[in-house]
Every structure is written in structure tokens, then in C-alpha cells.
């Protein structure tokens, strides 16, 4: 796909020409801007940790202390985090966990995302992603042991300096103390020696008794809020290196199309600032010194987009010209068949045979954008030694490194992956075909011979953002003569994100397609959950809480239908179905109490509005969640006044960050439930920016009341679990208010009676 013709490059650049550079620097300095002549802002490689050389291959991931920690003379500790920070607070959690065992206050840490490398594969000790709400719960013990090993090394170094046995030494935050002599050495004073000590085996260290924790479990301040409140935090969008040029792209309107001729090529080449025009895989690009010039020119390009051959179509996810989400939703809803079984309990046939009453309904979900506010970008720089430095948003550095190496035709170890802070992610920055700008940046950097930064505009981002899947779930439920559910069957027509990425196995269910239909704790004796695979032409993705983001909506709203059919209050019915389950009945009681006591309504609020409440639960990512929502209808539109959202992640590291995650997840769940939908007509999305794909703003944001329960159960996830109970709580409240069932999202599309 190298269609770059050097002859179409335009070496002249009318504005901001190189001869002005030094003057510009002076002006930058005079405007109070930090500007350097080399690498600006970040990406300044700190001298490699001594460990890089010492890294022993037989050390398990997460144990090679010098690969993670750099001690500074001022007592600060630089921690290379195996997890990337994108708002979820993991940099702070890592500082708390490592600091607890190392005896360093969390605010003494400078945390950055670690480079690619086997030392950092700490998720279950074998892989590395920032996702699945897995960071803390899968690495907790490993990172504690890392901190304990580091403390041991501080003690060993101090023992030599003080000429005292280690057994006579202890630590206080940031220093080693020799009680007998009253001497102490700050960790900063040991900076030169400690990391040269032999690294203790993780099995040899002693961990603290949790009752002695100083920081784990406390609402420790986030380590990054000042930088994020003053524009100093650096995202991939902000990456820059000396000599860098900008590129903007125009993606094919449909995935799979290829760029043919650019009919106005000469005009585009002659536009202000344009240096070169390139054809890429499924896109055209313009390179300029300044992004605005590149963007203006590439958007003016009239490209003859060409259909791929049938052979090419078979190898990619090809978007046909007649695809519409309206038709696809009908296809999903009309998909027949019992499906491949995902979960089964009791006997579904006999459950229905003895039923006093049955309920049937089909529920549907919509495609969603991640819509993180930072659009995707990538900066690529080839170095004279053949290595490649690359800056890009990502949730899995080693996986990206391998594919970047393929794209650049070099070895993975020649690719230095820099993973700046993420301007939101929500599942956006995994490796998805055609959804990451790095192949474009690599190709352009090669063709131009200079560092290239590709920025996707919001429109280009939305054209290639892989989507939360659509699904249609056929439910049927059976009730006994007491109105209690005795059987429930749910058959989902859906393609899960994992099978979309890794290929569909006809004998298997994609667990992420059905999670939230499966894994429910309600004592319904006869249950059957199954999936009918229906392939999508769109790219599919993980989206905050993945299958749970839709399946708990389906299930919990249908459970309310069954409650109503059986003449039962939905809160009391849940309590009965969870009888004997102490953790979940406590949780349900907690959310009821938090809301001031369960009341369904409808009732008249103090402001004169007619309101109702709905309740729902979810068991996502090893945690348990319950939510109550209070709604009214004003001018035909749903108003969500309050959400009470309680999360039980078992045990916790930082309650303040967890509450922030609850508030964020509840807000996103409200946005999904009310507003959002990616629609396609004629193979193209109808919206390419926030004007036609609105997301929840402050004016419609509910009050969120968050509570964390620490039940002592095995540690579960935090970032995603508070979301899934929210959309069904809203749906159930709307149904209670209007008497109409809510079986699809977004609810703003529903024609609702006034409550």
C-alpha cells in the first residue's frame, strides 16, 4: 500500500517556515511556555534503570524491583506502573499498594506507565492489559510483594552503611531507622545503593498484617489531580518531538473501501502548508507542518473510493453499502433457534409445563461509541539505529509492540512503546483492526523520513471507533400460582466482542456476549441462557462493562415484568429470590437504605413532579452492585433525578477513588440508557461528531449517591461494575411511572406517556 509518490510532495511551506524556528522558540519562552529544542514535554527517556541490564529472565513478572522503581535523592520514588492511567485512579492505587509494603507515602511517588517488557506481565502473573476491571485485583499480591522486596533492599543497603545487622533495623515512612543508635537514613540517601542489592525472591518476603495498613483502604489523595487540573498532564495528543510533522487522514466512508484516484490532487497539493499527500490502507493522508493545514487539505480531497475484490472482502470486516441498523435490529429480533447454551439449571421444559402464568418479551440494545474525549492519535519516530519510538494511547503495550513491529517490519524489541495518560478509554484502546492510527503513523514516518504525528479528528475517530454490540434477547418466564418465577429462558442474538476479534467458534458461546444474562444469583430453579451468533459488518469492541452494559438491562427489566405479572413488588421479589444469600441481601438492603427506604411509586415529589423508582442488580467482574433510580417525565423526556448506586467489591484499596468510579459509571450508564445510539444508513454512520451523537452533559446528569460495601469477599473489579445496574434501574423506574414497558435503549426514542 505504498502509493506515496515523492514527486507530489511539496517541499515549500508558506507559514512557520524553518528559518523562523529560533525566533519562535524565543517567543514561546517569552510567552511563559516551556520549549526545548529537542524532545518537548515528555518522552525524555530517563536513564535506564540499572535493572534493565540486570533483568534476570528467570524472575517472575512483577518481581524485578529495579524494573519498577527508581529512587531519587529527594526521597521521591518513580514507579513504573504495569497499568495505564485513564481516569480510573490506578496510578494512585499502585502507589498505595507498593508504598504500603515499601513504607513510602503514596504522595512521594511519581507514577508513569511502564514500557513494554516481560517484567510487567502482572495480570495473573502472565499478561498485561489495563482493562476488564482487573488491574488491582489481579496484581494485588504481586505488587505488595514488590513493595516488600524493595523495603528489604532498603534495609540491606542501610545495614551496610550503618554497619548494623538488618535485624536491628526497621522502617518508618521514607526512611530506615536504627533504634539502638537513634540513627536513620532517608530512602533518598540510599538511592545510590539500594537498587544494587540482590533482589529478594517474592516468596521470601514477609507482607504486612492488613490491620497495620497505613494507606491501603484509606481515601488517599490521587497522585495526578494537580497536573490534570492545570493542563500539565500529557496525553498522546500532546506528544511532540523535534522535527515532527503532522498528518491528518480521511477514512473511507465504509470499512473495506480502498482509495483510488484523488480527482483534485493538484488542488490539494497546492493548499496552504501541504507537504505531501499519501494513500494508506482505507484512507488518504496529508502531511503538513501544522495539523490544521493537514486537516483542511485532506478534507478537501475528492477520493474515488473503490470496492474491494470478493477475495479481499472475505479477509476483512467489510461494510456493505446497504447496511442499516434499523434493518439489522429487525434481523436480530427475528433470529430464531434455541441457540448455543451458555448456562443451564434445572429443566426449562418442565419449568414451563407447571406454570400458572408465562411472560414473553424481546429486548434490544444499540451500538455505542466509546466517545472518550481524546480522539486517537499516534506519534512515530524512526531513529538512525533502526529503532522506532512510538507514542500512542493503548491498554496493552506488549500487544501493540508486536503489531507495531509487524507494521514497521522490525523486531518487537526495536519498538519503544510510550503509553501516555489516556484521555478516557472505556475499552477504546485495545488492538482492534483498523481502529488504531499506528499503522498510518508508521507508514507515513517511513515515507516522509521524519517523525509523524497522526491525529484523528472526531469525525475520523467515530468512523473507525469499534462499537459496543447490538443484541436482541428473547425472554420467556414462568410463574407459579404464588407469582414466584419458576423458569426463565433468555436467548440472545448477538455477536460478542471477543469472537468478533478472535473468530467465531460455532460450538462455543462468547462469554462476553451473554455475561449479565449468565451469572445471576436469583433462585429461579429452571433457567436456560443461550446465544445465537449473528455476524455484524461493523467492528465490535469492549465497552465499559462489556456484555453487562446491555445484558443486565435486559435481564433486570424483564425480571420486573415477571414481578408485575406475579403481582409482586420488584424489590421484595429480588429479596425473596436472594433469600439465604447474605452478601446480596445486604447489598440490596444497603441500596434501599441509601435511598431512604425502598418506595416504588409513583409518588408526588416536593417540586410537584410525578416520580417513580426502579431497582436493579448486577454481578460484574467479580463484584456485586445494586442501583435505584428516581425518574419523572417532563415535556415527554425522561428526567433521571437521583441514582443510588452501591458497589461491593469485596475488599478495597481506595474508597474515594471507588466512589468516583461509581459516580462516573452511573453517569455513563445514564447516558447509554437515555441518549446514545450509533445508527447506520446506507452503510455509513449517520453521526460523526457530538452534534448528532450527543452524550450526557451536566444539565441531564443525575445526582449520584455512591456507597462502597466491603464485605470481605474476594477482591473484585471497580471501574466497570457500578455501571450495569443503572440502565435497568432507570428502565424499571420509567415503567413504574408510565405503566409502559421499556425494552430498548436509548429511551429518548420511546414515545412515553406522561407519568
Amino acid at each position: 500500500m505504498n502509493d506515496h509518490d515523492p514527486k507530489i510532495s511539496n517541499p515549500g511551506y508558506p507559514t512557520g517556515a524553518p528559518e523562523n524556528v529560533s525566533r519562535r522558540r524565543f517567543l514561546l519562552a517569552s510567552a511563559g511556555i516551556t520549549a526545548g529544542s529537542l524532545v518537548l514535554g515528555f518522552g525524555l527517556s530517563v536513564a535506564p534503570n540499572k535493572a534493565a541490564a540486570a533483568a534476570a529472565k528467570d524472575m517472575p513478572p512483577g518481581s524485578n524491583v529495579p524494573a519498577f522503581l527508581e529512587l531519587r535523592k529527594d526521597g521521591k520514588v518513580r514507579l513504573l506502573s504495569p497499568f495505564n492511567e485513564g481516569g480510573q485512579g490506578v496510578f494512585t492505587a499502585m502507589a498505595q499498594i507498593v508504598g504500603e509494603e515499601m513504607d513510602v507515602a503514596p504522595d512521594s511517588f511519581i507514577v508513569e506507565n511502564a514500557p513494554a517488557g516481560s517484567d510487567y506481565l502482572v495480570v495473573y502473573g502472565k499478561m498485561r492489559i489495563t482493562g476488564g476491571s482487573m488491574s488491582v485485583r489481579t496484581s494485588y499480591d504481586t505488587m505488595r510483594k514488590l513493595g516488600a522486596a524493595a523495603r528489604q533492599m532498603m534495609l540491606e543497603a542501610a545495614a551496610k552503611k550503618l554497619d548494623a545487622p538488618v535485624s536491628d533495623l526497621s522502617t518508618e515512612p521514607g526512611k530506615v531507622v536504627h533504634k539502638a543508635s537513634g540513627k536513620s537514613l532517608g530512602y533518598g540517601e540510599l538511592a545510590g545503593d539500594a537498587l544494587d542489592q540482590e533482589v529478594p525472591s517474592p516468596d521470601s518476603v514477609t507482607l504486612k498484617d492488613p490491620k497495620d495498613f497505613k494507606w491501603i483502604g484509606e481515601p488517599v489523595k490521587r497522585v495526578d489531580v494537580y497536573e490534570k487540573s492545570t493542563g500539565k498532564a500529557i496525553y498522546a495528543m500532546d506528544a511532540k518531538v523535534d522535527g515532527m510533522l503532522h498528518a491528518a487522514v480521511q477514512h473511507a466512508p465504509r470499512l473495506g473501501l480502498k482509495p483510488g484516484d484523488i480527482s483534485n490532487l493538484d488542488e490539494v497539493k497546492g493548499m496552504a502548508g501541504v507537504m505531501s499527500v499519501h494513500k494508506l490502507d482505507g484512507a488518504v493522508a496529508v502531511v503538513a507542518e501544522r495539523f490544521w493545514d493537514a486537516k483542511t487539505a485532506v478534507e478537501a480531497a475528492k477520493v474515488d473510493w473503490q470496492e474491494p475484490s470478493e477475495d479481499e472482502k472475505s479477509k476483512i470486516r467489510y461494510m456493505p453499502a446497504d447496511f442499516s441498523t434499523e434493518e439489522f435490529a429487525k434481523q436480530l429480533a427475528n433470529t430464531k433457534g434455541d441457540g448455543t447454551e451458555a448456562e443451564s439449571e434445572g429443566d426449562i421444559t418442565s419449568g414451563f409445563d407447571g406454570a400458572a402464568k408465562t411472560v414473553d418479551a424481546t429486548y434490544q440494545s444499540q451500538y455505542l461509541h466509546h466517545a472518550q474525549i481524546e480522539p486517537a492519535s499516534t506519534l512515530a519516530r524512526f531513529n538512525e539505529d533502526g529503532t522506532l519510538d512510538i507514542w500512542l494511547p493503548n491498554q496493552a503495550p506488549e500487544q501493540f509492540q508486536a503489531q507495531i513491529a509487524d507494521a514497521a517490519r522490525i523486531k518487537p524489541e526495536q519498538v519503544k512503546v510510550n503509553s501516555p495518560m489516556l484521555g478516557g478509554f472505556f475499552g477504546r484502546h485495545f488492538l482492534y483492526p483498523a481502529a488504531n492510527p499506528f499503522p498510518q503513523a508508521v507508514q507515513l514516518a517511513k515515507e516522509v523520513g521524519k517523525p509523524i504525528k497522526v491525529i484523528w479528528t472526531r469525525e475520523q475517530e467515530f468512523l473507525r471507533d469499534p462499537l459496543r454490540p447490538m443484541a436482541a434477547v428473547r425472554f420467556r418466564g414462568a410463574l407459579d400460582d404464588q407469582g414466584m418465577p419458576v423458569a426463565l429462558e433468555a436467548i440472545s442474538a448477538c455477536e460478542g466482542p471477543t469472537e468478533a476479534l478472535n473468530g467465531h467458534n460455532p460450538d462455543k458461546v462468547d462469554a462476553m456476549a451473554v455475561e449479565g444474562l449468565t451469572g445471576k444469583s436469583y433462585a429461579i430453579p429452571n433457567r436456560r441462557i443461550a446465544q445465537n451468533f449473528v455476524e455484524n459488518p461493523t467492528s465490535l469492541a469492549y465497552w465499559r462493562s462489556v456484555g453487562h452494559s446491555m445484558n443486565d438491562f435486559f435481564y433486570e427489566a424483564f425480571l420486573d415484568e415477571m414481578a408485575d405479572a406475579g403481582g409482586q413488588d420488584p424489590y421484595e421479589l429480588r429479596m425473596k429470590l436472594l433469600e439465604g444469600n447474605e452478601r446480596l441481601t445486604n447489598l440490596l438492603k444497603a441500596v434501599g437504605d441509601l435511598s431512604g427506604g425502598w418506595k416504588r411509586g409513583p409518588f408526588d415529589a416536593e417540586d410537584g413532579t410525578r416520580r417513580a423508582r426502579g431497582v436493579a442488580m448486577a454481578s460484574p467482574f467479580g463484584s456485586e452492585a445494586a442501583a435505584i433510580a428516581e425518574v419523572s417525565i417532563q415535556d415527554g423526556q425522561i428526567v433521571v433525578h437521583d441514582i443510588w448506586d452501591v458497589l461491593d467489591p469485596g475488599s478495597i484499596v481506595n474508597p474515594a477513588i471507588i466512589k468516583a468510579q461509581i459516580m462516573g459509571a452511573a453517569t455513563l450508564g445514564t447516558s447509554e440508557a437515555l441518549i446514545e445510539e450509533v445508527a447506520y444508513k446506507n452503510g455509513e454512520p449517520t453521526a460523526r461528531n457530538f452534534d448528532y451523537y450527543p452524550i450526557l452533559g451536566g444539565a441531564r446528569a443525575p445526582r449520584i449517591h455512591a456507597k462502597v460495601i466491603e464485605s470481605g469477599a474476594k477482591m473484585g473489579g471497580v471501574g466497570e461494575p457500578p455501571l450495569p445496574a443503572v440502565p435497568p434501574a432507570i428502565a424499571n423506574a420509567v415503567s413504574a411511572l408510565t405503566g409502559q414497558r421499556v425494552r430498548s435503549m436509548p429511551m429518548d426514542k420511546l414515545d412515553l406517556k406522561k407519568g
Binding site: 474515594a656 468516583a660 451536566g698
Partner: protein
């Protein structure tokens, strides 16, 4: 073209149609002001023009004229902006942080024109989008700066 920005007067080479955002980011090298949508929907690019919040992604640099531009890089040198930043840090408003430069600028603009905003004033002024869902925290924090009732704010137990 001359541009008054952050208390300095600078020469700008970019074309007159270039939005102020890209002059700030590309030519002046200040990256605290963010690109999010390019059509004045999200507010990540918010700056102050003579103390009033503006979305710089749709404002041609030639339209700035004699107005004084203030970016997030300078906000702590503004007395109101300094209080906003301190409160933002104290209340730990940011999550991913990408929208927060713009949120801080919008909050500063509001409080410069109205030091006792009501809940409705805050809602009307704070229209910047945040995908992490910090809206409750933003409202709570502005109300705390103003010393007004934080009724709209959420709570956490």
C-alpha cells in the same frame, strides 16, 4: 499577526482562518488546551477571551483581534482561576483529566462574572462534556468555591 496571550504579545504565523486552538497547540506549543471535537460541542478547547470562556476550536485566530487570550497554562496567575484550581485539586475533580482544562476555564469564567452562582447558573454555564462523569463533582466544587448550597451535587458515603 499579533496575538495577546497569557500577558504577552506574540507574533503568529498561522493562516488567519486557523482556529485559535491550533495556533495555541501547534504554533505556540502549549498543549494544556485540548482538542476534542472541533465543532464547539465538547468544550475541551475552552480558553478565556477577555475573561470570558470561548471555544477555541471554532474561533479563527484572525477574529481574536485585540482581545486578551488566557489559557490553562496561565490560569493560576488569575486570582479566581487560582481558587478554582485549588478547589479542583482539593475535591479531586478530575478522572482522566482530558476535559478538565476546559472545565477549569469554564468555571473560572462563570465565577469571574458571578461569584454566587445558583444551581441553575452553574448548570447553564457548565456545558462542557465529560465522559468520565465528573459532573456532580464539578457542580459541588463550584458551589463550594462560591459558598453556595451544593444541592445539585451528588454525595458519597
Amino acid at each position: 499577526m499579533k496575538l495577546k496571550i497569557n500577558g504577552k504579545s506574540v507574533d503568529v504565523q498561522s493562516g488567519p482562518d486557523t482556529p485559535l486552538l491550533w495556533v495555541i497547540r501547534d504554533e505556540l506549543g502549549m498543549t494544556g488546551t485540548k482538542f476534542g471535537c472541533g465543532i464547539a460541542q465538547c468544550g475541551a478547547c475552552s480558553v478565556l477571551l477577555d475573561g470570558m470562556v470561548q471555544r477555541s476550536c471554532v474561533l479563527p485566530v484572525s477574529a481574536v483581534g485585540d482581545s486578551e487570550v488566557t489559557t490553562i497554562e496561565e490560569i493560576e496567575n488569575d486570582p479566581v482561576g487560582k481558587r478554582v484550581v485549588e478547589a479542583w485539586v482539593d475535591k479531586e475533580v478530575p478522572q482522566c483529566g482530558y476535559c478538565q482544562s476546559g472545565q477549569v476555564m469554564a468555571a473560572t469564567s462563570l465565577l469571574k462574572s458571578n461569584d454566587k452562582p445558583t444551581e441553575d447558573d452553574i448548570t447553564a454555564a457548565m456545558t462542557n462534556l465529560c465522559r468520565c462523569g465528573t459532573y456532580n463533582a464539578i457542580n459541588d466544587t463550584i458551589a463550594s468555591i462560591a459558598g453556595t448550597d451544593a444541592a445539585k451535587a451528588g454525595d458519597a458515603q
